[in-house]
Symmetry: C2
Subunit: 335 residues, 2 copies
C-alpha cells in the first residue's frame, strides 16, 4: 500500500525545507527562481499534490462550496446546477449538492453539515420560510451566502433575483393581447416561496392594470409544483370553471400537466384554452403542443450565482448589490 506523498517527501527530494516547498507551490514572492524550479521538478517527479484538507485547516479555505436546491429531480434545477458547477470548476472549486425538499428542518441540517465540512460559502435556493435558518446560519457561521430569489439583508449575503413579477406581466399582457379576459392561474403550492409570491402578485397587478377582475376561485393552488399536480389542478379548474379560456401556470411542470388535462377533457389548445408556463425548461420546447413560457437562462443564473459567491470569497469588495436577471416571453404553440 503506497503511502501518501507529502510535502516532506518533496522537501527531501529537492533538499530544501517544507516551508520552501510551500512557497514554491503557492508562488510566493520570497523564493529564488532557481530553488523554485528545483522544487517544482521534485513535485513533478513525485507526483505530489497538496492535501486540500491540511491546507484548509490552516488557511481556513477549502475550495468547496455548497449548492442547496429544492430537488435536483425538478427539471428547473439541473441546468442551474450545471451553471454553478461550470463556474465553480473554472475557479478550482468543488461543489456539494444537497436537496431540501422545501423542508425547513432538512434545510437546517444541511446547512449545518456543510458548515461542519467547512465549505467556503453556500448558494441556496431557500424554502418558503427560511429566514430563521438563514439568520442563525449566517450569524454563527461567518461565511458568505448567495440566495436565489429570496431577499435577506445582511453584509455577508448576496442575492440573485429573477424578474418574477415582470415575467408574470409578460405572460398576462400576452394573453390579454390575444383577446383573453377569463384568465386563471395555477399558483403552485399552498405555502408559496418568495418567487411564487411575486409571480402571483405580478399576475394580479397586470390583470388589474388591464381592468380585468381577479376571480379568486380561478387561482388554483396545488400540493406541489409537479406535472401530476398540474394535471389535477388543471382538471379541477376546467371542470368547475369552464368559462376560463387561458391559464398562466406558476411553472412549466404545472403547465404541462394542465395541457394534458385539457387534452383529456377534449379542449383544444390554444383555441379552447391557452396555456402559458414559466421557466422554459427544455421539455417545454418539445412537448405537444410546444409550450409557450417565460424564459429564464438557468445556466447563466447558476453561473452568476457561483461567480458572485466566489467574488465575495476573494473579498476585495465588501458590498454587493443584488443581481437581477431578465426574463423573456418565448412564444410557442400552447398560447
Amino acid at each position: 500500500m503506497r503511502q501518501r506523498i507529502t510535502i516532506e517527501d518533496v522537501a527531501r527530494e529537492a533538499r530544501v525545507s517544507r516551508q520552501t516547498v510551500s512557497r514554491a507551490i503557492n508562488n510566493k514572492a520570497e523564493i529564488s527562481s532557481d530553488t523554485q524550479n528545483r522544487v517544482l521538478e521534485a513535485v513533478e517527479k513525485l507526483g505530489y499534490r497538496p492535501s486540500r484538507m491540511a491546507q484548509g485547516l490552516v488557511t481556513q479555505r477549502t475550495y468547496t462550496v455548497g449548492l442547496v436546491v429544492g430537488d435536483i429531480t425538478n427539471p428547473f434545477f439541473p441546468e442551474i446546477a450545471r451553471g454553478v458547477l461550470d463556474a465553480a470548476q473554472l475557479r478550482g472549486y468543488n461543489v456539494f449538492l444537497c436537496n431540501t425538499d422545501g423542508n425547513l428542518q432538512q434545510e437546517f441540517r444541511i446547512l449545518q453539515s456543510l458548515a461542519d465540512h467547512a465549505v467556503d460559502g453556500i448558494i441556496i435556493y431557500p424554502s418558503y420560510d427560511s429566514d430563521d435558518n438563514l439568520k442563525t446560519f449566517v450569524e454563527q457561521y461567518q461565511r458568505p451566502l448567495v440566495l436565489v430569489n429570496h431577499f435577506f439583508k445582511h453584509p455577508r449575503v448576496s442575492n440573485v433575483m429573477v424578474d418574477n413579477q415582470g415575467g408574470a406581466k409578460l405572460a398576462v399582457d400576452y394573453l390579454v393581447s390575444k383577446g383573453h379576459t377569463a384568465i386563471s392561474m395555477l399558483t403552485g403550492v399552498q405555502n408559496p416561496s418568495r418567487d411564487r409570491v411575486r409571480r402571483i402578485q405580478g399576475f394580479r397587478q397586470t390583470l388589474a392594470a388591464h381592468g380585468l377582475p381577479v376571480v379568486e376561485e380561478w387561482l388554483v393552488p396545488s400540493l406541489d409544483p409537479t406535472f401530476e399536480s398540474g394535471y389535477e389542478a388543471g382538471r379541477y379548474l376546467l371542470t368547475h370553471h369552464p368559462q376560463v379560456t387561458a391559464v398562466f401556470a406558476y411553472n412549466d411542470l404545472l403547465a404541462l400537466g394542465a395541457i394534458r388535462a385539457c387534452h383529456d377533457l377534449g379542449r383544444r389548445i390554444p383555441d379552447d384554452c391557452a396555456i402559458i408556463g414559466f421557466d422554459d425548461i427544455r421539455w417545454a420546447a418539445t412537448a405537444t403542443p410546444t409550450l409557450t413560457s417565460i424564459g429564464v437562462n438557468k445556466h447563466y443564473l447558476g453561473g452568476q450565482s457561483a461567480t458572485r459567491l466566489l467574488d465575495m470569497l476573494d473579498g476585495s469588495e465588501s458590498s454587493f448589490s443584488p443581481i437581477y436577471l431578465d426574463v423573456e416571453l418565448v412564444i410557442r404553440e400552447s398560447a
Copy 2:
C-alpha cells in the same frame, strides 16, 4: 467576529482534557457515563460541532464522496443523483457532484481534484474509454470506486450493472410480437460507452434470434444522445429508409426526438412507425404520444451505488460481487 468553538473550549467548560471530550463525542468505551454526560452538556451549551476537516486529517475519513456523471442536465442523471444523495445523507455523507461531458481529460482532472479533497470514495458513470483513467486513479489513490455500467476488475472497485442487453431484448421481442420485421435502431453516439455497446449487442442478437436480418444502414448513430440528435437521426432514417416500421432508440431522449421527426414527416405513431426508448425518464410518461420504454429504477440505482460504496468504506467484507439491476418493459402509446 465570533471565533470557532473548538474542542478546547468544550474541554475547559467541562473541566476535562481534549482527549476526554473526543472520547465523549465519539462514544468511545473508556469513559464514565458521568463525565460523558458532563461533556455532552458542555457540547450542547456551547453549540460545539467538531471540524470534519481536522478529524479527517488524522482519521483519513472525510465523510465525503464524489459523484461523477456525464451531464446532470441529461434527465437520466438527476434521479440517479437523488438516489445517491439520499442514501449518502442517511449515513452522514456529503456528495461532490461533477460532470465529465464524456471528456477523458476532464474526467481525469475531476478524479484528481476529488482526490485532492480526500473524498472517501467515488461513484462514477465512466466515459466510453475510461480504463486508463480508472486504472491510474485506483492505483495511485487507495480509495474504493463504484462504477456504473462499466466493468473493471479490481479489489477496490465494485460494479453496478443495468441489464442493458436484456432491456434491448425486451424491446425487440415486443416489437416483433407486434408484427414488425423492419426494425431500426438509433444507437446514440459514435464512440459508444459500455452500456451502449450492450444495448446494441442485445438488439442484434434478438433480431437474429427471431430470424430477422440486421440491416447495417438501419443502425443510425448520432453526435450525442439528445432530443435534437434523435430528431436529426429519426428524420434521416425515415427519409432514407421509409420501409422501416419500428425504431428502438438507445435512450428516451433520442426516442422523443424521433417521435417529433415522425410527426413532422406526417407518419403516425405507432401505426406507421412504432418507437420505443430506454431509461423511462419522467418525460416519457407525459409526452404525446406517451413513450413506450425500457424502465430502469434510477433512484434505486443511485441508492444501491451509494450503499455499496459506503459498505466498502465500512469495509468488513473485502470482496463485493457486482450488483445487477433488472429492467422492465413499460408499454405506453408509442409502440
